[in-house]
Structures are given as C-alpha cells and as structure tokens.
Symmetry: C2
Subunit: 323 residues, 2 copies
C-alpha cells in the first residue's frame, strides 16, 4: 500500500512552512540569452535546442527554490509545443525536481473516458505496458490536473491510479479566468451552480482517498480570482486540497486566497508561474539581479510570495499550528 | 489566406464518398507479435521499442485505408503513455498520414486559458517560436478536439489558430459515455441543458470560420450513443461538422448516427478505432486474415463500416447528391 498523496503533500507543506508552489512554464523568448545560446550550441535541431534551454532554465530555478517550496507545477503545454523534444524536457524536469525532494504537479488538464482515460492515468501517474509484457513508470508525476466535463467515466480511471500508485489529482472546478462562468456559473434547476454540482461530485470521488491528516488525494482547482465562490466551495469540499491559480499575474491577492483555506490553515496550495520564474525581468528583482542570476531572482520572488501568503493567513487567523 | 478547413474536410469526404474516419489508438498488447518483435530488435530502450511498434503498426494500416477514408484520428493518450518516444511515434504517424493525402484529427481534448491555450493551439495547429526568433510547425495536425469547460477564454486562442493556419477544432459537447450527463445534461434555469448552452456557444464561435460549402471549421463532438440529443444539437449547430464517436465498440449503430447529419447528407464524420485497427483479432476478419495481414483486415473492416453508414444515409434519404 502506497502512502496517501494528500498526507505526503501536507507533510511537505509543513516542512517548508509554505503552501505556495512554483509553476515551471518556460517560454523560449523570455529565457535569458546565455541559456539560449548554450542550448543552441549543443545541437543542430532547433526543437531540441529549445528542449535543452528549458531543461537548463528549470534546473537552475529548481536548485534555488528547492528548500523554500513543497512542489513545482510544470504546465505541459509549453513543453508539448516542441513535440518529442519538448516532452523530453518535461520528463527531465519532472525527474530532476523529484530527485531534489520536490513534489511535482503535472498541469495537464487531461480528460477522456474508459481505456483512454486509463492510458492518461498510467502515463502521468502510474506504470505503462511494455513490449515484453512488463511495465514501467513513465512521467511519474505526483499529481496532475484533470477536467470533469465527461463525468465519472472520465474520473474513475484516475482515482484507481491514485489508489494503486499513491498519487493525486486536482479536478477543475471554478477556474480563474474571466469567462469561466459561461458554463461553470450556470444555475441548474434545484441544484445550484454547475461548479457546485462539480464540487459535490469531487467531494464524493475523493471519499475513498482521505489520508491520516483528513485531506483527500482528490483536490480541486479553484481560482484565486473568485474568493466568494471559493467560500461556498470550501463548505462543499471540506476534505479537498484546493490548487489555486490566479495569484499575482492574474490579479488574485494573498487575501483573495484566504477563503480557500480551512480554519486549520491547510487545504490550499497557491501557484505562481510567471511572477516567480521570470522575476529577473521586472522590478524590484531586475534591479538586484541580472539575467545571469535569473534563478536568484526567482528565489527572492518565491520568498516574497511565501511571506505574502503567510502574512495573509496570519491576518485571517489561519496560520497552521506550530508554524 | 489559407483554405478553410471545413471546405477541405468536406472535399475529402466527397472524394472518398465516405464520412467515416479511422481512430489510430494503438495498444502494445494488441499489436501483432511480428511487429512487436521487429520493433524490439531495433532498440535497447523499452519505451522506444513501443514507439517503433506503434509507427510500423500505423504505417501499414494507413497504406491500406488511405484510398477509402478521408481522415484518421490518432488518440494522443496512447502515445503519451510512452513519453517522448511515444510522442515521436505520434509525430511520425501524423506526418506519414498527411504525406499519404489523409487529413489528421488529433484527438487531444486540450483545454486551458490565455497564453497556455495559445501554446496548445500553436503546438497542434500552428507554428512555435524557436531559439533564434524564427518559427516552425510542430505537430501540424489539421484538426484537434478541445474541451469547453473553461468558456471563451479557453477557445479563442484555438479560433485564432484556425484562422491563421487554415485549421479546425471539434469542441466536446455531448460525449458518448454513460456518465456524460452528470454535468452535460443538467437543466439550466431558462436555458435548457448544459450541452445546449455549449452548442449555442459553439455555433457562435464558429460563425467567423464558415467556408464556401456552408460549414464551419469549428465542429462539435456528439456521441453516436445519444441520437435524440443529436437531433436537438443539429438544430442548434446547423453549420457545425459533428465528430461522432461511439459507433461500433461503444454500441452506437449506423442508424443512431443519422440525426447527426443534415438533410444535404453532410455535417458528420463518424469514428471507429478498435473496430477497424484490431479487426484481425475478431470474426469475421480473423477467419480470413492472420496477424501478418492485420492491415488487410483493417481495410475490410473500414469498407464494411463505409457500406454500413452509406446504407443508413440512403435509408434516411440523406445520401449526398451525386454519391
């Protein structure tokens, strides 16, 4: 029996005394020139060059934030752009981060049904079949994000993988973007909003995966940009960990994320991507660090984010006991 | 200005006189032994061996169905299981199928917002940025499937890519699986079902991409297993091409798919995966073809599917003019 993921995640949050995670979303035209040049010199293939640049860019950041944050969240879309070379960089980033003791949330938003959903679950959380009948881990991320639009058929294969391999999922519920309400906010006759129905499903799906600390390995994505909705959702999904995008670049503040946390101070992990990994490009960090020290700028930005969130938890009387 | 995708798709359907497509969803333990053995002998890497087996398996099938069907639909999950080596096989399959004159529908069900959705759109439909500031096509599929749960923010970047690159998308609406109703069938106050709201959004999103033949490059996924719902959706989305899963293995019959087609006989493409690519493993095909001739069995199954669907269109008085 593998250890419950929610227990592992909360333990990591406790160890770092930090519920924030760093999104590793590399964009080639925002990566410092010296990293791009070095990558180009290693290969003739222009797609592989991008892959090398992503790996090196991430490696330095991971080295400089690994003692601060419990987890990183690579967004696979940025890697997928470069086909097999990009996915190779994703694989290496996941492997390196885990080797350095970080949990890895693969932000993949996968969704499908039946044997196809099972294929995604195996790809990202479990073991896949090989030619000789044996099996092996593929990406081996700790958690991934998934989309609920297809209902239980699209979720059950991921739940099975969570049980078998001690992994976790975050299911999209109320997302951080302006148009999220077009489907999610619709009021269903006698049942509240669509996102409330999704929340009740998520709560039910998570029941069998509750760990010793009272949280489930089945979490929910709830945007920092919708604090009022978050309050409602916290009531419905008491045992879910919320993955909270939208802090920083998208306009969500540390106070906006407070309703996502339970009274015990747990239940939320807040993500920032651009605000951390491209900190070297903007004040105040650009004043202290040049492009050669981009990962030091990321470290400073990650420390500021931690302080910002802890101060807010304290103001809201939600700082975990013993922090 | 690139040619409109819906026009290209309908022309291909007309040329083959066939609105059915073949799903290329390889599973290593269902691939004939001689293909597996040959792949294993080409590499020491067990993941690469699977990738080689997938490429060869698909290549033979593409060769034997390329004169029958207008398009193939690889399901990326099965490739993604094997990381960068699996994605390499996906890339090669897409490239080979297009080289042989087939349109390729990447069944990826991607979804995200803002710059992340743009990254997915560029990855699958357009050009991506390289280290030296130039750009190049990546997967270069003709169409992909996308998920609507995030609303317009999650769709707009794909629409832009469709315009710029002459590509298309199929947006999930009413999916073929038993639990699709958990969210999709909810009745929204004063607005019908969630899938009807999604349909009205899809119809609107598609307005700017209508081609000369009156169909839009923005299509919808509507399961063959829900003919009554399909009838309603056909009314709402008059200009959308429906991508219809669920025929065959999932229980949908040729008559079930009739409501997905317009009176002119167009507006639907029907997918079958397992029923075609693994035809060699089941009667009547297994009686005539051994595992060495698996692609011949696929050809027979594809011809049967075509006959089955055309007969149904004829019964329903929906056979396109001149077929």
């Amino acid at each position: 029996m593998k250890k419950n993921l929610a227990d592992r995640l909360l333990r990591a949050v406790d160890e770092k005394r930090n519920p924030s995670v760093v999104g590793l979303d590399p964009r080639i035209n925002m990566i410092p020139e010296h990293v791009r040049v070095a990558a180009s010199e290693k290969t003739e293939d222009p797609f592989q060059a991008v892959g090398f640049a992503f790996q090196e860019f991430n490696r330095a950041i991971i080295d400089d934030i690994k003692d601060i944050v419990p987890a990183v969240k690579p967004q696979v879309a940025f890697y997928e752009q470069y086909g097999s070379h990009g996915i190779k960089a994703y694989e290496e980033t996941v492997r390196y981060a885990r080797e350095k003791g970080l949990l890895v949330i693969g932000d993949v938003k996968r969704n499908d049904i039946g044997s196809t959903a099972e294929a995604y679950a195996r790809a990202h959380l479990g073991e896949v079949d090989l030619v000789d009948g044996s099996s092996a881990y593929s990406f081996d991320t700790d958690m991934i994000t998934v989309n609920p639009y297809l209902g239980s058929d699209g979720i059950r294969p991921f739940l099975e993988a969570c049980k078998t391999y001690g992994k976790g999922i975050f299911i999209l519920d109320k997302t951080s973007n302006p148009s999220s309400g077009e489907l999610q906010d619709r009021t269903v006759e006698g049942n509240g909003k669509v996102y409330e129905i999704a929340a009740r499903l998520i709560d039910r799906w998570g029941e069998e995966l509750v760990g010793e600390k009272g949280y489930s390995s089945v979490g929910a994505v709830v945007g920092a940009t919708y604090p009022r909705e978050a309050q409602v959702l916290r009531e419905i999904m008491k045992k879910a960990v919320f993955l909270i995008p939208g802090y920083g670049a998208q306009g969500g503040t540390a106070d906006d994320i407070l309703p996502c946390f339970n009274q015990d101070g747990y239940g939320g992990v807040v993500n920032s991507s651009r605000g951390i990994i491209f900190a070297h490009g903007r004040p105040p960090y650009s004043e202290e660090y040049g492009p050669l020290e981009y990962s030091k700028a990321s470290r400073q930005a990650a420390l500021h984010m931690k302080d910002d969130i802890l101060a807010s938890l304290e103001r809201g009387n939600k700082l975990p006991e013993g922090w």
